[in-house]
């Protein structure tokens, strides 16, 4: 794939369930080599937005483009290049870690795309010692790492993470951050939703705030001296401090 293609573009996405409007007019682009954080209170529509991006839900209005092409349905070819990790981890508890990875690798191979070998991935995420243990015996953090390993084995161009930090301990978070930085350097586009302020600041290039189903502001990691202010700008979005609107920049961003 060439550099110019944008892995994910959401254009005017709205989602309604009857009279309940979950998302309204969300425009979001995630470029290759960019890690975008999606923050917002519970019920602000983060998970719905990710589900729409990955094709599990159909938007009520708006358009989804994957790799620059309109994607009213996320076709099999699209699913080859997208990986999705949620906080429910989606692993078979009655299979071992290796079997879990192998199942999806074989499915991918049947679809005509070679997957990365399981062992180096398990190693990379610190699960080599547990490769042959049943996933049902894993801690939540281990499952989360295994789910990430599965997501990475197809060498995706777009990675969607729903609350990836929740169950991870500190070393786990650091490892996830490391992996994200490495993969970003290799051109992976990441969209992750999180409540975790520190983690978000540490790994993202850009943070967007979802508020009541619409985008409520954006903070971008700048270059040079600007970079230092990223923490404050994220804080100013108001997820962790109640003072949304005190900072003029957030207001400005919200208007834009």
């Amino acid at each position: 794939m060439s550099e110019a293609v944008t892995p994910l573009e959401l254009d005017g996405i709205g989602k309604r369930f009857g009279r309940l409007s979950v998302l309204r007019g969300v425009d979001l682009r995630v470029e290759a080599g960019e890690v975008v954080g999606l923050i917002g209170a519970n019920g602000s529509g983060k998970t719905t937005l990710l589900n729409i991006a990955v094709g599990l839900l159909a938007p009520t209005e708006g358009e989804r483009r994957l790799g620059g092409r309109r994607a009213p349905q996320v076709e099999l070819a699209d699913r080859m290049r997208i990986a999705f990790v949620t906080h429910t981890t989606q692993l078979y508890p009655r299979l071992t870690a290796r079997e879990n990875l192998r199942l999806f690798a074989e499915l991918r191979a049947a679809a005509g795309d070679a997957a990365a070998l399981p062992d180096p991935l398990l190693e990379r995420l610190g699960l080599a010692h547990a490769a042959d243990r049943m996933v049902g015996t894993f801690s939540r953090g281990m499952m989360q790492r295994l789910a990430l390993a599965r997501a990475l084995q197809g060498r995706p161009q777009l990675l969607l993470l729903d609350e990836p930090f929740t169950a991870l301990d500190r070393p786990g978070r650091e490892r996830l951050a490391e992996v994200l930085v490495e993969e970003r350097a290799a051109g992976l586009a990441v969209l992750l939703s999180s409540h975790d302020y520190d983690a978000v600041v540490a790994v993202t290039d850009r943070v967007v705030l979802l508020e009541g189903g619409r985008l409520g502001g954006e903070a971008r990691r700048g270059e040079g001296p600007e970079a230092a202010g990223y923490r404050d700008r994220v804080a100013a979005l108001g997820l962790l401090r109640p003072s949304a609107g005190v900072d003029g920049r957030a207001e400005e961003a919200a208007r834009a």
Binding site: R16, G18, R19, S21, R24, G25
Partner: protein, 230 residues
């Protein structure tokens, strides 16, 4: 325009209805074997046809709804599904009344009775899923309607397999012309009424969907009106 269709249909029904009563009760002779009660035939059978027709309509509309995400098709599917229940109830009640008068037994567990009952149950399930299903169950309901519509010919064919007490399909085909003449107005009146009701119901459903839109917009600050709940 859309508003006019049910009015026209109901007007047609109002004109044809007395004509149909006249032909059924005054013009047509009494059938020799079954006697006077055979006159139930003239609205029992059209009603069964209407039930099957709207079963198929519901299935086709549901298929269009799934493929095209069309609201119009969804509204028609809902309206047709409900009409299957209403017409089916009519068939299931008038049938046993006829059976009671001519065979002395209201419900004989004959194949056509059972399969009509089953078809009816399928569409009751459709309405139940639409009403009580979680978000996204409109697609499940649509699949249910499609399977239900596929059941219609199976049910029709079932009569041929089971040799039963129910008059076979040939009775309708080999009808004397005057009976046909009495069947048409009855069918016309019932079909016009049923279609009018379906059209009204479908319009209401569309209206409801647009009202949902309007409420969402009213509560959406970006349109310029400030809602209370936001």
């Amino acid at each position: 325009m859309g508003r006019l269709i049910p009015v026209v249909l109901l007007a047609i029904a109002a004109v044809v209805f007395p004509l149909s009563v006249e032909t059924i009760f005054l013009d047509v002779g009494i059938e020799r074997q079954l006697g006077t009660v055979q006159k139930i035939f003239y609205f029992h059978v059209p009603l069964a046809w209407i039930m099957m027709l709207y079963g198929v309509v519901c299935g086709i509309a549901a298929a269009v709804q799934l493929r095209r995400q069309s609201r119009g098709a969804e509204a028609i599917a809902i309206a047709a599904g409900e009409m299957v229940i209403v017409a089916g109830l009519g068939v299931l009640i008038t049938g046993p009344i006829w059976g009671h008068a001519s065979w002395g037994k209201a419900w004989t567990w004959d194949a056509r009775q059972i399969s009509t009952g089953l078809l009816w149950l399928v569409f009751v399930a459709y309405v139940l899923v639409r009403r009580y299903g979680a978000a996204g169950s409109e697609r499940l309901a649509a699949a249910l309607a499609i399977f239900g519509a596929v059941d219609v010919p199976i049910i029709y064919y079932a009569v041929k397999i089971w040799k039963t007490t129910h008059p076979s399909n040939e009775v309708v085909v080999s009808l004397p012309p005057e009976m046909w003449a009495a069947l048409w107005p009855a069918l016309g009146a019932l079909l016009a009424t049923a279609t009018a009701l379906v059209a009204i119901r479908a319009r209401q459903e569309l209206c409801e969907m647009e009202l949902d839109d309007a409420w969402v917009r009213a509560e959406d600050p970006s349109v310029g009106t400030k809602g209370e709940t936001t």
